[in-house]
Symmetry: C2
Subunit: 532 residues, 2 copies
C-alpha cells in the first residue's frame, strides 16, 4: 500500500498535519510572563501593509522620540519577519488597518534608563488597535516586546493577535547579564547581539566585566598603555571609545543600562603591563620574585591613578552604578611585601590583611562617590568589613547557602544583587534549564524592608570557556529562565512543567529572530536556526 | 607619565608587540600530527598571485579530475583567506612562482572513498614548489589539507611555508562522526559545514543516524509516508532525495564516506506513523494498549518492507557499509504481545527474547548481504547472539569497560568501531578536551590480528540537546582531539601538554575557516570568530 502513495496522498497528509498543528497554537506565549494577563479566543488579523505604530495625542513622547521611533522600526520587522508576508495577497478583501498606539507619561526619549526607571506598562488589544501606555519610554519598550510576542502566524502564514489585556511590571528592578571580555575578547557584534536577546527576555542591565587578569581591552583615553600593553592585541582586541559608545547607545535604545566593572585590587594582572608601580611586587625570603600581586594599596600613586581612571569611566559610562569588583584577592603577595607590611604597621592593621582590603575599597568607594556614582562590590568586600557604612550594593556570587548571604547583606541594610545560582558558564548538565528557573531570591526569612533591598539578580557568563563561538547557545534560553524569575510574579511561575511549553515556544521565537538559543529537549521549531 | 602617552607611544608598543609575537609562530601546527614530519627554519614566501596547483605529468589524474580540481579551488581560498593578500604589493620584487604539484597513482576521480581506500601521501616542500604524491585522490586530499595547515602568515600578513618533508598515513581506516537528525532536524547546510570541518581534522566517515523515534526525516521514494507522517514536518523538516545526494556528493569531494543508519527494531516510533502493522502493538492483561513497541519481528510483511527499504537505501547510499542499529530494544512490549509469544513458541525460542532479536537482525543482515552491503550493528547485537557468524562490524558504545568489549568482539573475529569514549553530546565538563585525547582504542591485551580488527573509532553527537544552534561549538575542537588519536602515531601523541598549543593553534585555524569551534581555555586567536 505504501509504495502506491501518490502526490495526492502526500498532499492529504499535509492538510491533515496543518489541521492538527492548528490546535497547538499558544496565544499566551509571552516570556517572561506578564503580571496580569487576560486573553480571549477572539483574534484579529494583522497585515504588514496595513499595520502601523503611532503615538497617541496625549503622549508626552511624539514622533522624533529616538528610542520609540527606532523601536517601532525594529518591532515591525520582528512582528513581520522578512519574507513571511504570508498569503495575505490571496485575500481580495480591503485591508482593515491595525494601529498600535503608544502613550507615555514622560518624555525621557533622549535619556538613559536608570536604577529607578519605571518599566510598568499596560497593553490592551482589541479590534483594529492595540493601546500601549507606560510611564516611561522604557516601560513602552517592554510593552512593545510583549506585543510582538502576542503576534503569531497560522499555518498558511497569516498573522494574528488575540484580544488581550495586560498590566505588567517587573518583580525586580535589576535584571542583569554579566559578560566577561577579558578572558576572551568578544567582538562588538557579539555584544550587540546579546543586547538584542536581552531585550527579548526583558533584561535591563548589561554588567560589562570589561577587564581582568588575562587582558585589558578597554582603550582608556587617559591611560592608553593599559590596552596598548595589556590587551591581547593593541589594535584588534580592544574596545575603542567609539565601540564603547556604540554598545551604550545600542543598549539605551533597548532600555538596557551598561554597568562597567573595573575589578580591583585582585584580577588586575593585565593592568600591570601598562601601568608600572600599580601592582604589588611579590617577595620571597626578602627578595622580589619578579611577579606581581594585587594592586598596591600602600602607595598614594595608586589612588591618584584610580581617581583618574574612574573619573574617565564616570564620564564614559552614563549609568549611576559602577562595579568596583573586590573579589578573590590573593593576600599572600601583599603579605610577602616588606613595604606593604610596613604600611600595615603604620596604619595599625597589624597582620589583618582583610582590613587592608577594606581600607583599599573604601578609598575607591570614596572616589566613586565623589563622582556621584553608586558602587557595587562582590560579596567578599561585605564579608571582610566590620562596618559597612560606605557600601551600597553587594553582589552575592559564592555557591553554597547564597540566600544566607543575601539575608546577611539585607539585614545590614545594603542592597543585594543575587548572582550565585545563575553562573551559566559553569560546566555541568548544560541542558538543565529548570535549575535556573526554580531559584527564588526572596526565599529567606526577613522583613518586608529587607526583601525590598534585594534589588534583583544577574546571570554571569564568565569567559574561561566562552567566546563568540559559543556565547549565544550557552546563554540562551537558559538565561531566559532566570529572566522570568526576575520579572514575573513568583506564584504564577512556580511550575517548571507549566513553564516548559512556553519556554520552548519562546526559544523558537529566539531562533526566528536569529539568536542561536540551544534546544531544551527533543523536538523542533517551525523555523529552525538558519545561521550556519 | 601614562597620561602623556601619544600616538607614537602606541605605535612603539605595537611594534614591540609585533616583534614579540613573531617568535610565537609554530610552523608545525598540523593537526592531526603526521606520522613522520621533518621541518626546517628555512621558509619560502607564498603569494596568491603567483601560487598555483598543478598535476604532475606522471599523475594518473589530470585536469578534469572532479575531486582534485575542486579541492585546488577550495584549498586556494583556505590558504589565502579573502581580504588577506597581505602587503605583498608593497614588495616591488618580481614574484617568484610557487607551484604545488600533485601526482596520484590511481584515477579514482569519479568514484567514492571506500573502506580500504589508501589515504597515504607524501609531501615535500622546497624552494618554489611543493610535491604531493599519493596512491589515491583521497590520499591527495589529506595531503592538501596538511599543506594548507603548513602555510602561515607573519605579522604583516605575508604568507610563508617552511621547508618540510612529510610521510603520512592514518593509524585507523575508520574515523567517523555520527550526527543524529531525528531528535532534532539539522538543516542540510549544518551537515555540509560539519563535513567541511571533518575534512580539516581528516575524519573520513559521516555516520548519518538519519531516523529514530522522534522523527523520520528521510524522504523515501518507496515509502513516502514514512517522512510524510513521521517527520517533524512533511515539507520543511525532511531530507529529499536531492538533499541526500548533495550530502553524499559534498562528502565525496572531501574524501568522506556517508554511512546511513536505519536503526531497528527499537528506536522506530516515528516509522510506525507512516507504516501500519510495522510496529508491535503492546498489550496489557490481554488487551491492546494502543501503544507500540519495536518493529514486529513475527510478521513476514516486516521483512518485505525492510527488504524494499534497504534496497532503496542501497541504491541511494553508495557506501559498502550500512548501519542496522539494533541497540536498546525494549523487550517488554514484545513479551506482552500474544502473537509474538505464539511466534516464539513456534520458533522454539521459549521466552528468550534476545533470541528473537538475534533472529530479527539476522534476517536484516541477510537482506543487506544480498545487496552487497556490509552491515554494522551496535554492540547489543553482538552481546545477545551466541554465534556471530552473520555479523561483520560491531560498534561499541556503552560506557564502563569499553575496551573489554572491544577485546571480546575482536576475539570473536569481528571488526570493531569504538564510540564509547567519544560521546561528545553528554553533559559534563564540556571544556575537558583531554579526556577525549587520552583514549587509545588498542590498549587491551590481544594479538596483532585482533588489534587489526579494530578498524577505528567514532565521535557521536546525539541529538537530544543538540541542533544547528550549538552543534559546531559542541563538536569542535573536541572531536579534533579524537581525530588525532585515530590518525596519528600513538607514541608521538601521548602527551596532552605537548598537544595543547598545537590544538589551540588548530582551533584558531578553524575559526579563521568559519567553524565556531569553542575555546579550550583563556586566550585569544588572531582572527576571532566573526560569524555572529
Amino acid at each position: 500500500m505504501n509504495g502506491m502513495c501518490s502526490v495526492t496522498c502526500t498532499m492529504n497528509n499535509l492538510l491533515l498535519w496543518v489541521i492538527l498543528q492548528g490546535s497547538l497554537h499558544t496565544v499566551e506565549g509571552v516570556w517572561p510572563l506578564p503580571q496580569t494577563f487576560t486573553t480571549s479566543t477572539v483574534r484579529y488579523q494583522l497585515k504588514p501593509q496595513s499595520f502601523h505604530f503611532g503615538y497617541r495625542r496625549e503622549s508626552a513622547a511624539q514622533r522624533g522620540c529616538s528610542v520609540l521611533d527606532a523601536a517601532f522600526k525594529r518591532y515591525f520587522t520582528l512582528i513581520f519577519p522578512n519574507g513571511t508576508a504570508g498569503n495575505s495577497k490571496l485575500h481580495f478583501s480591503v485591508d482593515e488597518p491595525f494601529t498600535a498606539e503608544i502613550s507615555v507619561d514622560h518624555h525621557d526619549c533622549e535619556g538613559y534608563p536608570k536604577e529607578d526607571s519605571s518599566e510598568r506598562y499596560n497593553l490592551s488589544v482589541s479590534a483594529g488597535r492595540a493601546f500601549l501606555s507606560a510611564e516611561t519610554v522604557w516601560g513602552a519598550l517592554r510593552g512593545l516586546e510583549t506585543f510582538s510576542q502576542l503576534v503569531y502566524q497560522d499555518n498558511v502564514g497569516s498573522f494574528f493577535v488575540n484580544k488581550t489585556d495586560i498590566e505588567d511590571f517587573p518583580q525586580f528592578q535589576y535584571r542583569g547579564i554579566l559578560l566577561d571580555t577579558s578572558r576572551h575578547y568578544l567582538p562588538v557584534q557579539a555584544i550587540l547581539k546579546t543586547l538584542d536577546a536581552m531585550a527579548y527576555s526583558k533584561f535591563n542591565v548589561f554588567h560589562w566585566h570589561i577587564v581582568d587578569d588575562p587582558s585589558f581591552p578597554y582603550q582608556s583615553r587617559t591611560f592608553p598603555d593599559l590596552s596598548g600593553k595589556g590587551a591581547f592585541h593593541p589594535m584588534t582586541h580592544i574596545y575603542r571609545q567609539s565601540d564603547v559608545r556604540s554598545v551604550i547607545s545600542y543598549a539605551r535604545m533597548r532600555g538596557i543600562r551598561v554597568l562597567p566593572e573595573f575589578d580591583s585590587p585582585g584580577h588586575t594582572q593585565s593592568w600591570g603591563k601598562g601601568q608600572s608601580d600599580l601592582l604589588t611586587p611579590c617577595f620571597r625570603r626578602g627578595a622580589p620574585l619578579g611577579t606581581f600581586g594585587p594592586v598596591n594599596p600602600a602607595l598614594p600613586s595608586t589612588y591618584q591613578f584610580m581617581a583618574s581612571l574612574f573619573k574617565e569611566a564616570a564620564s564614559v559610562f552614563p549609568d549611576s552604578y559602577v562595579h568596583l569588583g573586590g573579589d578573590e584577592v590573593d593576600l599572600s603577595c601583599w603579605s610577602s611585601n616588606p613595604s606593604i607590611r610596613a604600611f600595615m604597621q603604620k596604619m595599625g592593621f597589624g597582620v589583618d590583611f582583610p582590613k587592608l582590603e577594606t581600607f583599599y575599597i573604601e578609598k575607591l568607594v570614596n572616589i566613586t562617590s565623589a563622582l556621584n556614582k553608586t558602587s557595587v562590590v562582590w560579596q567578599e568586600v561585605f564579608d571582610n568589613s566590620v562596618q559597612h557604612g560606605s557600601l551600597s550594593v553587594v553582589e552575592v556570587w559564592k555557591q553554597g547557602c547564597y540566600l544566607c548571604e543575601v539575608r546577611r547583606v539585607a539585614k545590614a541594610g545594603l542592597r543585594v544583587i543575587l548572582a550565585s545560582p545563575w553562573y551559566l558558564d559553569l560546566p555541568g548538565p548544560t541542558h538543565n534549564w529548570a535549575r535556573y528557573y526554580t531559584v527564588w531570591p526572596l526565599a529567606f526569612k526577613g522583613t518586608e524592608e529587607q526583601k525590598r533591598l534585594v534589588i534583583g539578580g544577574e546571570v554571569c557568563l564568565w569567559g574561561e570557556y566562552v567566546d563568540a563561538t559559543n556565547l549565544a547557545p550557552r546563554l540562551w534560553p537558559r538565561a531566559s529562565a532566570a529572566a522570568e524569575r526576575l520579572w514575573s510574579d513568583e506564584k504564577q511561575t512556580s511550575s517548571v512543567d507549566r513553564a516548559f511549553p512556553r519556554l520552548q515556544d519562546f526559544r523558537c521565537r529566539l531562533l526566528r529572530r536569529g539568536i542561536p538559543a540551544e534546544p531544551l529537549d527533543v523536538g523542533h521549531c517551525r523555523h529552525e536556526y538558519q545561521g550556519v
